[in-house]
Symmetry: D2
């Protein structure tokens, strides 16, 4: 199973008045990690797949996240991303956000949060500029990612 | 059961190259809707509760979201927020994001996404500037919100 | 000279560990105020003007902002937007961000920040998906905005 | 004159429906580059300087930015940051955002945007949680940065 690692430094402006990462920022980074996974596997950028396969991206249909520890500015995070499950018209992408600049009780990096996403390969619906529909998972892309 | 409604207009910059709302923005708005709920119920701002109750906010420990329809700029969203469950040291806050400028098949507003969050009332841990701990749900706050 | 007013509530997550608005958020709101001005003047959304006039939006070429007072969560801001100058292929849009929930020394609303932007009406360059060029200011749009 | 370089990859979600970087994101990155400069020069994090010098950060009082070329997702940006001028109670920080994955006509990296910021070293005003005031530029910090 392929895994990609996306690194992200936490900045001052990513934190809120409680001085910890404001949680929507985790989703910004996880979305970048999601695309990074496909890039690392050799999948072309979405503006290319739009022309070749009709795929405009991999929008979310479901996400479930657990927040384990807080992070703050100065921390360096590493997001470990893999595909946990392939389905007919969707897939489950798993992200584990670790703090690279620390060690947890067991001697490994601290787990900050983890997230399972259900995503689809989306195409536009004809004639509606913002409506999308799920395509069957393309074999060519699946092979690159396994 | 109390419900608060938070309105949010979708802007051009909230949308991504696929021309639909970039999903982390939903979490920005839901976080605002979460705090809006407490304000509507009469709970003071967190910089006040920090002094009076030691509460610095209500950070997330778990969130589960389903994305039903896309939204784009020009849309007006209404987020319906309530407390679905009170637990000893946490609570479940439920958010339903509806498109106010449209009607679904059943004649009501379109459901765009929905989200169940588990949140805590957090205090700082002594001596650690960014570490937090969960407090028992304060009775006074619970009464204001029921 | 037409003026449009865009209202924006400051949220907890818009503020940084210093508890004041993290300044890039002002530019998010000003960009929304910029588009709001055109909408209020009757200019169609950019996905329509892309089809009719080839205009994909009004990207910035220059911005100059002064930050006068801080704002924090709970504040309600009003952004007063107008066109200060029309040029051949660009225009100067002026934004004044006032705090609506306060009064300054002179009895009026507090000025929080102000910003002069130079923007263009942009079209795509042929064959380059992300390259843009400035169009002459369209007479029809200028008339709507004066 | 010291210079620090801050690297930033442009992500899908940083781009707007015109497929180019939504400009407020440049200010997010420049703010990170501003703090990165001080960190590289050996200045402690703001939560430490708050205790030692009363300095909570370096908020903006004025910024002037020119946008020269567009950037899009997949681009790698390098922000070159230096102090262009020291004043009594403020300083001018200069940022040049270059595209590292490309070459301009002259054979060097493309200039994407540049920005001169006037910032202050800020302390809290007594008794007002969100009001700030400018301190004289601390000699110790200035020496680290020259």
């Amino acid at each position: 199973m392929k895994e990609a690692i996306y690194s992200q430094k936490v900045e001052f402006g990513d934190c809120d008045p409680a001085r910890i990462v404001w949680f929507p920022n985790f989703f910004r980074w996880i979305d970048a990690a999601s695309r990074h996974f496909f890039v690392e596997c050799g999948v072309p950028p979405w503006h290319e797949t739009e022309r070749t396969l009709g795929i405009i991206g991999t929008p979310l249909v479901d996400t479930h996240a657990k927040f384990v520890k807080t992070a703050s500015y100065g921390d360096v995070l590493q997001i470990h991303t893999s595909i946990a499950e392939w389905r007919g018209k969707s897939f489950v992408q798993r992200h584990r956000v670790m703090r690279a600049n620390s060690e947890g009780a067991a001697g490994g990096a601290d787990l900050i949060m983890e997230c399972d996403e259900v995503r689809i390969f989306a195409a536009r619906r004809d004639g509606e500029p913002t409506a999308i529909r799920a395509l069957p998972v393309p074999e060519a892309i699946r092979k690159l990612c396994e």
